[in-house]
Subunit: 589 residues, 2 copies
């Protein structure tokens, strides 16, 4: 037996017990006759003491222990003279009588402590060492707890967890599929699921009523920062439900998860339409922890001789409370920020509402004090506040202002950690017109239902009608992060066929790719709808963190590579022969 | 709102309530003025009544409902005059006032009832209809419950569920990998995991102490009946444990699962060595619900002039209790059975122990009555019993007799449903010598540790010594089915290198494929071990069923094909170009 207790559980009440502990050497310290070793495992750290007067050879052995050696130590629990109140085991130590080294360790390439000196690449390569660090252990254990709480809640609500297959069918719609060549079916391929969408709908047709699954999904995308080729969803579907019932159910889930993991009671979940979110926040995932709403200024800013504003489709401002003292340098920095290609604004106009009631703006040449007073009135700016204004084509400018709003909030520390503000964004457009491609895209996905009142218009309407269709689609947004999204689905063959046609499918392609689903709709498909949550993202948001990578045990880097195992890698030529494949590029093993 | 209640919950206490139900039309029956419709959902069946005197047009509508139509019905709960005690809602019915058809249904290609008339292929193609049937719904819901109970138990034991990656590295060892071409890394491939073996070991090196995961695994094997290319494991690993601690922990899991799903308290879990299991039962996964142990008869059957026995390495018998009356036809059938190529015996010898104390055998020409009496004494046969005897090369003959033992037990109904007999088979050989390939194979896998007392012999011993090494490997067997297997792992680089060498790896290949793991062993790897359970199989065994396919929502057929979605399938030529691949076989889309 390697241990009677773990390194986090001994207390003063255990004094006098003979115990055996095993773990990693965190650090050793020599004080004359005494040597102290901090022994670490997942559960905590316990101090070991070796007394050279008691057992000189054992003490000598202890002094030779390196960092991260794995040892077993046997001894008596005794009270510490100088207690460590920051450690759960800080009242006791183990007077060691016997010790054995289970394994040695080379010197780790970075420190295994709360903060490490290791760079990203090194930490990915030696992931097993990085995973020993407190922050990562807590993240991964948190993830496990979040998954279990998800399951407990959904099980209590009669949801059945059903495993859907990973070897499915490639469909060019959506993102790019990872494919898997079939050895037994030459020239044919499976695809890894981008989501279990069609299968969960099939389960509703199959009468399962309430389905969920915590499941890996795959997208072969060019990886931006903090995207992973494989990621995890909480995937859910319900039959015989309206949108309101879906939202109520998953508001319940979100409340449960926050309550049972970090003890936070979430406030109300307001509903906001997509149009309203864009108008007020310049984003379909608004961070409503702070105000600074977008205010249209066309009425007061146009027709005063400032050509840029006069020619703009939209002039829009935000009021930054108490920041009239922004320096020239700060304003220049913001101006540079909005002119970055990622944002793409041409420039930034500001108005300082001075303490004396006067205004100082970057467009004083064109506007009188009472013009600017009108801006202040509309935006709600008072003495001491700062107004920031952008102008241009409406859709782009709103988005730019939404981005600027977030940047200002970040700079001012308005994204208060520990404060969580959820909301449902609803009534998304059904279709998005792609001017370049000359075709519609599904705003959510091709299985999303138009709102009931739009069904007839969708079946019979003209092109412009299609652009105005609204969907029973919804996103759950918390603190400006979309943590889940879903919709009521089409469950009728005719409507699904119409949607595929609008999305540019030929009837043959639609049948080839989704014939099984449309066929299922002909055998008594119930109305149904659902949602999927980004599980990695949810972990990060609840913990107030930005990177999902720190909540994934074995993430891939931005080239889609696992640095530890060095995958992907070439395969043996025989394997390719068996798979009826030849490489057209470089590299063969 | 589509419903106020589901179809399984209304009782007499709800009498007089106005309710709304939604579901599928199971069947309709017309009785003069009254029409009855059984409405079905996952939760049950509720009887709807339409009265033509009350509402003639509604009743007419109801009479037109086809099987599997989806409807919503609103009405009053009332007591039934002729109650149905076999149905939870059998005391009430709904007097319908309003009804709407949510979706129609074509006539299903097979009956959607407890027993169906659909063939396998048809049921696979229309899986969504098959999934509506009670037996499949119960199986899939059982599976969900089993997974949740697994998680609850392991969570309470401090196990952390960690998701390991699906896009990993191909290693030619073991079964064949499914591979996934990498678009971003031309000529390189990921592999889908055959198991998360190396990752769970890495998690132990990473200090997670106790890991589990219910996880999909993938093997590209030629599919035999009841094998699936993707299957599910309960995968577990523990650090700082001995074999005894692993077995105790997972005996606990098995007990918990049987108790909390079917209310069965499992009996003791005896430990039996691999050698003993083969000797007594001719199998490393013995069904110990019944006796009929294998008895060596060399001492009494050889040197009596029967050349076949005299030349055999082993003569072995079983005593079939009370079956001396087996007819010639039955014995011929058994003889034919053992001569099938799957079994491969040359013939079958029998001895009937007659009621009068005499013996009648198929080898009376060679053996006297007192010779046969000696056989009876050794096998424990008494008057009325039947002795069956096989002979030949030892290993093969034991296995043949083990198979015959099971066949006889099946015929005699000795595999009592509802009786569960678990046992641990332990002390497996570490290595298996492959005479044809002239090399060793790992009996369990290349990461399995020899027993502690065999470590030194493994590092230094000769070829014959290697054959005799025993591993800390174990299988959990219930009713003759291996439901889990595992081992204590090697956690030392030198020993792991030695094992790879014995298994025929060059040092370069070992480093290329498993260098990350051996590297991890150099940074303080703790002793560790674990187990994996076949989750699909476990579902079937607990329910006393043989086929895992009925516990998988969307199984593949024996050609690895999903008949519903028709996968695998050809992909677009552009996809292949992006993946830097060309087909060498047929079919391009």
């Amino acid at each position: 037996m390697y241990r009677t207790h773990n390194c986090g559980e001994l207390r003063l009440a255990d004094e006098g017990k003979e115990v055996t502990l095993s773990g990693w050497v965190q650090v050793g310290r020599d004080f004359g006759a005494l040597t102290f070793v901090d022994l670490r495992d997942r559960y905590g750290i316990t101090q070991l003491v070796f007394d050279s007067e008691d057992n000189a050879s054992l003490c000598t052995q202890a002094r030779k222990l390196g960092r991260e050696f794995v040892i077993t130590a046997k001894g008596l629990v005794r009270e510490r003279t100088n207690k460590n109140p920051n450690r759960s085991t800080g009242d006791i130590e183990i007077m060691v009588r016997d010790m054995s080294i289970l394994n040695s360790s080379k010197v780790p390439p970075f420190t295994i402590e709360e903060e490490t000196d290791g760079g990203d690449d090194l930490r990915m390569k030696y992931r097993y060492l990085d995973l020993r660090r407190g922050p990562l252990q807590r993240n991964i254990i948190f993830r496990s707890k979040l998954a279990l709480e998800t399951r407990k809640f959904l099980d209590a609500q009669n949801f059945v967890e059903v495993e859907t297959p990973f070897l499915i069918k490639s469909t060019p719609e959506g993102a790019r599929d990872f494919v898997v060549p079939s050895r037994m079916n030459p020239g044919e391929f499976y695809a890894l699921p981008q989501s279990p969408q069609t299968f969960k709908q099939i389960l509703m047709v199959g009468g399962f009523d309430r389905y969920f699954q915590i499941v890996k999904c795959f997208r072969d995308e060019d990886l931006r920062a903090d995207r992973q080729p494989e990621f995890t969803q909480i995937d859910c579907e319900m039959a015989f439900v309206t949108q309101a019932e879906v939202l109520a159910t998953f508001e319940g889930l979100a409340r449960h998860l926050f309550q049972h993991t970090i003890g936070v009671t979430l406030p109300d979940f307001p509903h906001m339409t997509y149009d309203e979110a864009l108008r007020r926040y310049g984003s379909d995932k608004p961070d409503v922890r702070f105000d600074m709403e977008l205010i249209d200024l066309n009425a007061v800013a146009q027709n005063k001789g400032f050509a840029i504003f006069d020619q703009a489709e939209l002039v829009v401002g935000i009021c930054v409370k108490g920041q009239a003292e922004y320096t020239r340098k700060q304003l220049d920095a913001l101006t540079e920020w909005v002119k970055r290609p990622q944002i793409g604004a041409k420039g930034l106009v500001y108005v300082k509402c001075n303490a004396d009631g006067s205004y100082k703006s970057s467009v004083d040449k064109f506007y009188h004090q009472d013009d600017l007073a009108a801006w202040a009135q509309l935006t709600g700016a008072e003495a001491g506040d700062l107004i920031l204004v952008l102008s241009g084509e409406e859709e782009k400018t709103r988005k730019q202002m939404g981005d600027l709003r977030l940047e200002v909030a970040r700079n001012l520390g308005l994204m208060t950690p520990g404060v969580f503000k959820p909301l449902w964004v609803v009534d998304f457009p059904l279709l998005e017109w792609d001017e370049d491609a000359g075709r519609f895209h599904a705003m959510h996905h091709p299985f999303t239902s138009p709102k009931r009142e739009d069904v007839q218009r969708m079946l019979t309407g003209d092109h412009e009608t299609m652009k105005a269709l609204r969907a029973d689609a919804y996103d759950l947004v918390i603190n400006g992060v979309e943590i889940g999204g879903g919709s009521i689905r089409i469950h009728d063959r005719e409507l699904q066929e119409r949607n595929f046609k609008l999305l540019g499918f030929t009837p043959e392609d639609a049948e080839d790719q989704f014939g099984f689903l449309m066929g299922a709709f002909e055998y008594g498909a119930p109305p149904h709808g659902g949602i999927a949550f980004g599980f990695d993202r949810l972990c990060a948001v609840i913990n107030g963190q930005n990177s999902i990578r720190d909540f994934i045990a074995f993430p891939k880097n931005n080239q889609g590579r696992d640095m530890m195992i060095d995958a992907p890698s070439p395969v043996a030529p025989e394997q390719l022969v068996e798979l009826h494949l030849a490489l057209t590029g470089k590299k063969e093993k």
